[in-house]
């Protein structure tokens, strides 16, 4: 029989090795997979996306901008562009490098997959919002068109990604965006956020940290040279113009009520009543639909009825039924004080 101590040591060593190899995200296997990513397909697709993006913004792309975008050398970029040219996806002339209609529809296909995947991550998974874009950057190169279409069908063919960008159709149609940057809105004006730009990452995570989502209503309190103060869902928010320019809004007339101080449902104590004002836009997908199906819609009277032993979840009386809701979800349901007239 093998010496038990020896056997234990071997076992620990083995599990150590396995951990180093397969540790999620940081293990050798995961690193290797990440390193393998820069295949020619990825380079081609990223180049096309870059060219399309510049064309949309009417900026002229250069070899240098492509090289910078892909973080590869200029020599490699020249080869890459030649390859794209031979595939008929780009043209280069004296005016510089231009994307062909064929290349444009290729780019739109990739963008469609990218935005669909972001929508999927936002609605149907628990992946954090700061990771959506990065994960979609990986995924857009590995999903086939059929898989993407199946995914779209299953999600009810979404037309916007979670940042508010329109998702191109299968045939490569995409509407012009009609919002204006938040910076152009005058003092005291109202607007609805329709788009929160997800690139660059550093700015995006700032905007997310402020809790800004498409669908929120904003009111400009005042704009100064280096900061913009505005009210969003009853809370005051301050952003530098550089950041605010990445938020697009459509101006709206004074809306229903964006009164101040919404409380969340989780603040309701046992026995207390309140009226639902709405569900935060951060609650998406099936979870949101389920809550609404259960009767959590604006105007519904809710009563906190029962606390579980651990105090989470709490059961609320919603339209006659007792529904248990976890604190995490209750946090996303806005309520206001209940008054008698409100009921009728």
């Amino acid at each position: 029989m093998i010496d038990p101590l020896f056997a234990l040591l071997i076992a620990f060593a083995l599990s150590g090795i396995l951990a180093v190899l397969f540790w999620p995200a940081k293990g050798i296997y995961a690193t290797y997979k990440k390193a393998k990513r820069n295949t020619s397909r990825v380079l081609i697709e990223d180049t096309l996306k870059h060219l399309y993006d510049y064309e949309e913004r009417t900026v002229r792309p250069t070899l240098r901008s492509i090289a910078g975008h892909l973080s590869i050398g200029v020599d490699d970029t020249i080869q890459l562009v030649e390859k794209l040219q031979s595939m008929g996806l780009v043209e280069s002339s004296q005016d510089g490098i231009q994307i062909t209609p064929q290349g444009r529809s290729y780019a739109l296909r990739i963008i469609r997959i990218h935005r669909l995947w972001e929508r999927y991550l936002a609605d149907e998974t628990s992946v954090k919002e700061t990771e959506w874009h990065l994960e979609a950057e990986e995924k857009e190169h590995s999903i086939s068109v059929e898989e993407a279409e199946a995914l779209a069908a299953q999600m009810g063919n979404p037309v916007f990604d979670p940042h508010g960008d329109p998702i191109p159709t299968k045939d490569g149609e995409v509407p012009k965006r009609n919002g204006v940057p938040l910076t152009t809105l005058k003092n005291g004006k109202f607007g609805r956020i329709i788009h929160v730009e997800d690139e660059p990452h550093a700015i995006y995570s700032q905007l997310i940290a402020q809790g800004l989502y498409p669908g929120m209503q904003v009111r400009i309190i005042n704009t100064e040279k280096n900061r913009i103060r505005f009210e969003v869902n009853g809370e005051e928010c301050v952003l530098a113009p550089l950041f605010a320019a990445n938020v697009h809004v459509i101006p709206i007339q004074k809306q229903e009520e964006i009164t101040s101080e919404f409380k969340s449902l989780s603040s309701l104590r046992k026995g207390e009543k309140a009226v639902v004002v709405g569900i935060s836009k951060a609650c998406r997908g099936p979870q949101r639909r389920r809550l609404m199906d259960l009767g959590v819609v604006p105007g519904t009277l809710v009563t906190a009825e029962l606390e579980s032993i651990g105090r989470d979840p709490v059961a609320f009386n919603i339209k006659g039924a007792t529904i248990a809701i976890r604190k995490k979800n209750a946090d996303q349901i806005y309520i206001k004080e209940f008054s008698q007239e409100e009921l009728n």
Partner: protein
């Protein structure tokens, strides 16, 4: 409230007419779908109608239990399908998809929506959604005893008027109201009762316009479609099943079926 004793005498109380057929139903004349929220006593109603002999299995390709049974009433043989209990027909959960698809594509002769009388408002959510899809529906206002105990009174006639479909109060646990329900089912499938279901009005201005715009186009493409407005809403919501049904023309199957029924009713 229904007085049980009084009803022993009334003409519809004809228990002899109800035969629980069990599962051997090779031939049936009509298909009845049973919908309802969870915890409304839907399965009690189902059991009352079909008795112990029922067939349970899964919905094709799904891990959702499907129960069906049969009964005979007034010489007509009925097949009763128990749909999954759902709060709504809009979300994408498998249960709701199954219920919705059956009512839409399965084309039951009548859909009975079992409703908890003590929580009418919540349950009407589902009723209104069913009425958007199909014309032939009956509300089975169950748990009337419970409602009585809680001093809840429901004006059934006003409800019938507002919804435009028959409303039958029942206490399924006590077998109260079941004969009336059967009679009503019979009346609806044979065309004695014509339903004029309520259709949802409100929704935001922009949406209403878009819906009308699209519904018009749908009516042009599929003349006679009874629920063009609903189809328009589903298209606007990106519902793949409906998109496919429009593309393949399957949605017009509903038209044909309806036309036949109407002819049948006028004869």
């Amino acid at each position: 409230m229904i007085d049980q004793n009084k009803c022993e005498a009334c003409p519809v109380h004809n228990a002899g007419n109800l035969k629980r057929l069990g599962i051997n139903m090779d031939k049936f004349d009509f298909v009845v779908a049973l919908a309802g929220n969870p915890n409304t006593g839907k399965s009690t109603v189902f059991n009352n109608l079909t008795g112990l002999k029922q067939h349970t299995g899964n919905w094709p390709g799904k891990t959702v239990t499907r129960a069906e049974g049969g009964f005979e009433f007034n010489k007509n043989r009925y097949k009763l399908i128990d749909l999954p209990g759902t709060y709504s027909l809009l979300s994408t959960s498998t249960d709701e998809e199954i219920a919705r698809d059956f009512i839409l594509f399965g084309q039951p002769d009548v859909t009975v929506v079992v409703v908890d009388a003590t929580r009418l408002e919540r349950n009407l959510n589902l009723v209104l959604q069913v009425l958007e899809i199909t014309d032939r529906a009956i509300v089975c206002l169950n748990l009337m005893d419970e409602a009585g105990r809680r001093n809840i009174e429901i004006d059934e006639r006003a409800l019938t008027r507002d919804l435009g479909i028959p409303v039958v109060p029942t206490e399924a646990r006590q077998d109260v109201g079941i004969p009336e329900l059967l009679k009503t089912v019979d009346d609806v499938v044979t065309g004695k009762l014509i339903c004029k279901p309520y259709r949802i009005t409100g929704s935001s201005k922009g949406l209403t316009k878009a819906v009308e715009n699209l519904a018009e186009k749908i009516k042009n493409e599929f003349p006679g479609l009874p629920n063009a407005r609903w189809v328009a809403l589903r298209l606007l919501d990106g519902d793949q099943k409906i998109i496919d049904a429009v593309r393949s023309g399957e949605i017009s199957g509903i038209v044909k079926r309806n036309a036949i029924e109407e002819n049948f009713a006028t004869v």
